[in-house]
């Protein structure tokens, strides 16, 4: 009930904000207050009756609150003259996301799903002067529609071939989740959208695809449930492995901060997909296996791990996207090779970004570890107790997750190092100033909640979902924090002579400057060289020649290969086919009427044949 109230407040507030017209301040006030109060009103509902949908509603509500706090500061100077439009569509997006989680029947669900896609597409195109934003918006728009079309087909024909229907549901929801090959809109839309919208989309909207799969996969109508679940499990597992590894490898060489974060979202969705894949596989093997109890552990831990990672990802990635927004606000650029040294100029933003990034890499003692650890745990159970192919797959999952985690550390070390540490590489970065307190509040809120979440998990998970693991982790976390605090305190006492500041050691060269620093691209170059067979970085190298070289340069470009290798040929094929039937459009009215008649006749014959 409270949720419907929340929905109403957010929706009505958005409409009111639109009506405010040119009065930007009023529009901002109405929009932000309604979004904040609506989302806050919805939160208690989460704790009154915990349902499966709640785990998807929590990110929506929390990121809604964060967006309400963050947006006013972000919009100032970045299109505040259209703030009424912004708030209307932002509120509409949040409201429709809530609606998506609430509806049980597929018709209203799809309606809300479409509204959600459309409203967020408008927000992606909010920066209307930028060509990139408009292009990204169109791409996203197309992806939304293609997904919805597949889903409509899926719901219209529930009795069709099992594998076809699985393909439809996976592709339809996968377009939102960003499974590999279906992900192409993500790295375009996230950099283009305003930061709070990116946070909302990445943290709360794309996981809704998983909700769709869980809710609407035809578990009830299919004949052989085990086979169906096994197939779904394998599909999710393979897509997840490819998404996790591919996503993080493509995040490595990115130079645009938000694009890097977008690829990291693909990676995290991959991890979640791995978790749910293991869950379905275990559930399918549940009855076949003799050792029923053993495999049930894998099912449980993978499911819980996936869910927890969704929430952690929402909180931490939301914080990171807001942090990237602050960087844009401070320096007017997201290109990492032009940034640097922001930690000195904006210590709070920098620290928050660093902590969030460590959390998202799954490093203890932060939130992200718990979800990843549970997925690892599930995979270990699969390795120990699974049989045959499931066990081999679990081994592969473990290795892939470890590798992904290692590369994620590299990716985020690069992001932090290039943006916040060292010396500024441009004047814009040197002139940066800390953002407004309200914007920081939103980030503090998200990070604080991610810490609070650990505590909540440790002491509220029921015994049968094995609280001891999470509880033990939480206790060790506390122990480590205390230990480090004692060590730091002891050092303070010991080093009474204080700290002298000097310049960075320069190896005898007296004038080091920012151009000599290691750039982000250079930092990840060894790893991206290692994965060059996947990345295929396009290099244009002009070597320095002669004794006094005049010009030398290196230009590197990374393009998403799935666009070039998969989508471009596909679109070309589609255009070719379209040209083939182009002459049908003759302009002759009689011909059109003939076509309509033919179609009607055909449908009539089809109906008679079936009936």
């Amino acid at each position: 009930m409270l949720l419907y109230v929340a929905l109403m407040i957010i929706g009505v507030g958005g409409a009111l904000a639109l009506l405010c017209g040119k009065k930007h301040r009023v529009a901002t006030l109405v929009g932000a207050v309604s979004l904040f109060s609506g989302a806050a009103a919805g939160l208690p509902a989460m704790f009154m009756g915990m349902e499966f949908e709640s785990f998807f509603q929590i990110p929506v509500l929390i990121l809604g609150i964060a967006a309400a706090l963050y947006s006013p500061g972000y919009l100032a100077g970045h299109g505040s003259e259209r703030s009424n439009v912004y708030w209307f569509f932002l509120n509409l997006t949040v409201a429709s996301m809530l609606a998506v989680t609430v509806f049980e029947h597929w018709v209203p669900f799809l309606l809300a799903w479409e509204v959600m896609g459309l409203a967020s597409a408008v927000l992606v195109m909010f920066d209307r002067e930028s060509t990139a934003a408009r292009k990204a918006g169109w791409l996203y728009f197309a992806a939304c529609h293609a997904g919805a079309a597949l889903l409509i087909l899926y719901f219209m024909f529930p009795e069709c071939n099992v594998y076809l229907s699985l393909f439809l549901v996976l592709a339809g929801f996968g377009l939102k989740i960003g499974f590999p090959l279906l992900h192409i809109w993500l790295p375009e839309a996230h950099p283009a959208a305003p930061a709070p919208v990116s946070a909302l989309m990445s943290g709360a909207m794309i996981p809704l695809g998983f909700l769709g799969i869980f809710k609407f996969a035809h578990f009830d109508t299919c004949i052989c449930l085990e086979e169906y679940m096994a197939f779904l499990g394998w599909a999710l597992l393979i897509l997840g492995v490819a998404g996790a590894l591919g996503g993080i490898i493509f995040a490595l060489p990115q130079n645009n901060l938000k694009r890097l974060l977008a690829y990291s979202s693909i990676e995290n969705m991959g991890l979640i997909s791995i978790a749910f894949g293991l869950c379905f596989l275990g559930a399918a093997a549940y009855d076949i296996q003799e050792r029923v109890d053993d495999i049930s552990e894998m099912v449980l831990f993978s499911f819980v791990g996936g869910i927890i990672h969704i929430i952690n990802h929402a909180l931490l990635k939301g914080g990171l996207f807001l942090g990237a927004g602050s960087v844009l606000k401070m320096t007017h650029t997201l290109s990492m090779d032009k940034l640097g040294g922001l930690m000195r100029r904006a210590p709070q933003s920098g620290t928050l970004f660093t902590l969030n990034a460590a959390g998202l890499c799954g490093l203890p003692p932060f939130g992200g570890f718990i979800g990843e650890c549970l997925i690892y745990y599930a995979a270990f159970f699969g390795v120990m107790n699974g049989s045959g192919a499931l066990r081999s797959a679990a081994v592969a999952v473990l290795i892939v997750m470890a590798l992904t985690g290692g590369i994620a550390v590299a990716v985020y070390a690069k992001a932090i190092g290039a943006v916040f540490l060292g010396e500024p590489r441009s004047q814009q970065a040197a002139d940066a100033l800390e953002v407004k307190p309200l914007m920081l509040t939103a980030q503090y809120l998200l990070f604080g909640l991610s810490l609070l979440f650990i505590v909540i998990l440790a002491w509220t998970l029921p015994e049968d979902i094995d609280a001891p693991l999470v509880k033990n982790i939480a206790i060790l976390y506390a122990a480590v924090v205390v230990l480090i605090a004692i060590l730091l305190w002891a050092q303070r006492i010991l080093s009474r002579r204080g700290v002298r500041k000097s310049c960075t050691w320069d190896c005898g060269y007296a004038k080091p400057d920012a151009r000599m620093e290691y750039t982000g691209t250079a930092f990840t170059q060894p790893l991206s060289d290692l994965f060059d067979p996947v990345l295929k970085v396009e290099k244009k190298l002009i070597r320095p020649e002669t004794v006094f070289p005049e010009k030398a340069s290196l230009d590197e470009r990374v393009s998403d290969r799935s666009v070039k290798r998969f989508w471009q040929p596909l679109t070309e094929l589609a255009v070719m086919l379209a040209e083939k039937i182009h002459h049908l459009q003759s302009g002759n009215l009689h011909f059109y009427i003939l076509l309509i008649l033919l179609t009607l006749a055909g449908m009539l014959i089809y109906a008679m044949m079936r009936g």
Binding site: G340, M343, R344, P347, A358, C361, L363, P364, P365, F369, C373, Y376, Y377, F380, M384, S387, G388, S392, V395, L398, I399, A402, L403, G405, G406, I407, V409, A410, A413, I416, G417, L421, G422, E423, L469, N472, L476, V480, I484, L487, L488, Q491, L494, R497, G498, V499, R500, K501, S502, C503, T504, W505, P512, A514, M516, E517, Y518, A522, P526, L530
Partner: protein, 315 residues
């Protein structure tokens, strides 16, 4: 019994904290022996640490809080990770099912802090070292988790201590012995990589361009450097402990025998590292990923054999 074991564990933990700088001394002695020198004292690292502790702290003007807290925070994480291992071949009282993941993620966090501190100075040398560190550790991580999967199958548990207790090169069946030899070899490679020893890194060289770990800590001096030296020594002790517990069979895990085997094993590991450093040169950086992939592949081969004898790979 329970209490007795606890006391033994605490004793071994304290011993690890006190004696870990000795490992560097042993390695240097072995290298000196191979080179025909008499070498520095085995306690040299203690002297270095004490001398450094008395000095003033100097930080780069470019740096922020990360550089300042990094050495001690790293040490904290390494100490926490060490507490999860079966020290003195006694199961850790802090251990729980699934702590193996936490152990290696603690080490991951320590590494993350080193890398960030290196980037915090804005020095190009340190960026270079950090860049190499993240590359090699990502690959080593894959080997480690493959190894953990192997141990999980082999022992049927996820608690590090119990896992390492049940594993070991025994003579019960040829394939378990073979599998464990492969696992031990692979973990030794990981140990060399994570602790920046030859052939991954040469702690002796003082040319920034060729180093990994030493390049990352160029900007530290005084008490900070002392903490870093100490942390590196403790990390080496940690990996040596893991290796010893991995290789020794279950029969060694008992009372005083266990403690003797443990300290003996750690010392032997240090000697082994010393021998390897004496007879090998540092590899080219381009070769190192191959070495680490090789370690992973070895573990996976062991895994395939293990799974094959434990229920079938596919069926």
């Amino acid at each position: 019994m329970e209490k007795c074991e606890m006391i033994r564990f605490i004793f071994c933990y304290a011993a690890a904290l006190v004696f870990c700088p000795l490992l560097a001394g042993i390695i240097n002695k072995v290298k000196a022996f191979f080179a025909g020198r008499c070498g520095v004292s085995i306690f040299q690292l203690y002297f270095d640490i004490f001398k450094l502790l008395k000095k003033e702290r100097v930080h780069s003007a470019t740096s922020n809080w990360i550089l300042a807290i990094s050495p001690l925070a790293q040490l904290g994480f390494i100490m926490a990770a060490l507490a999860l291992l079966p020290l003195g071949l006694n199961i850790s009282p802090l251990g729980f099912s699934g702590d193996a993941v936490l152990l290696f993620y603690f080490l991951g966090m320590a590494r993350f802090l080193t890398v960030l501190a290196a980037l915090d100075t804005g020095s190009s040398f340190e960026g270079m070292g950090a860049s190499r560190e993240v590359q090699f550790s990502a690959l080593a991580e894959a080997a480690v988790f493959a190894l953990l999967a192997l141990l999980a199958i082999h022992t049927g548990t996820l608690e590090t201590g119990v896992m390492l207790q049940c594993a070991g090169i025994g003579i019960s069946a040829w394939h378990t012995a073979a599998v464990m030899v492969l696992a031990g070899l692979a973990f030794f490679v990981v140990l060399l990589c994570e602790n920046c020893r030859v052939p991954f890194d040469d702690p002796e060289t003082h040319l920034e361009l060729t180093m990994i770990h030493e390049a990352m800590v160029l900007d530290y001096g005084g008490p900070d450097l002392a903490v870093i030296f100490y942390g590196a020594a403790l990390k080496l002790w940690l990996f040596a402990s893991f290796l010893v517990a991995l290789v020794l069979p279950e029969s060694c895990f008992a009372g005083m025998v266990g403690i003797c085997c443990y300290f003996g094993g750690v010392a032997v590991t240090a000697v082994l590292i010393g021998i390897i450093e004496s007879i090998m040169a540092r590899s080219r950086f381009l070769k190192l990923p191959q070495l680490l992939t090789g370690a992973t592949v070895l573990v996976v081969l062991a895994l395939i054999i293990q799974i094959f004898f434990n229920g079938g790979v596919i069926k």
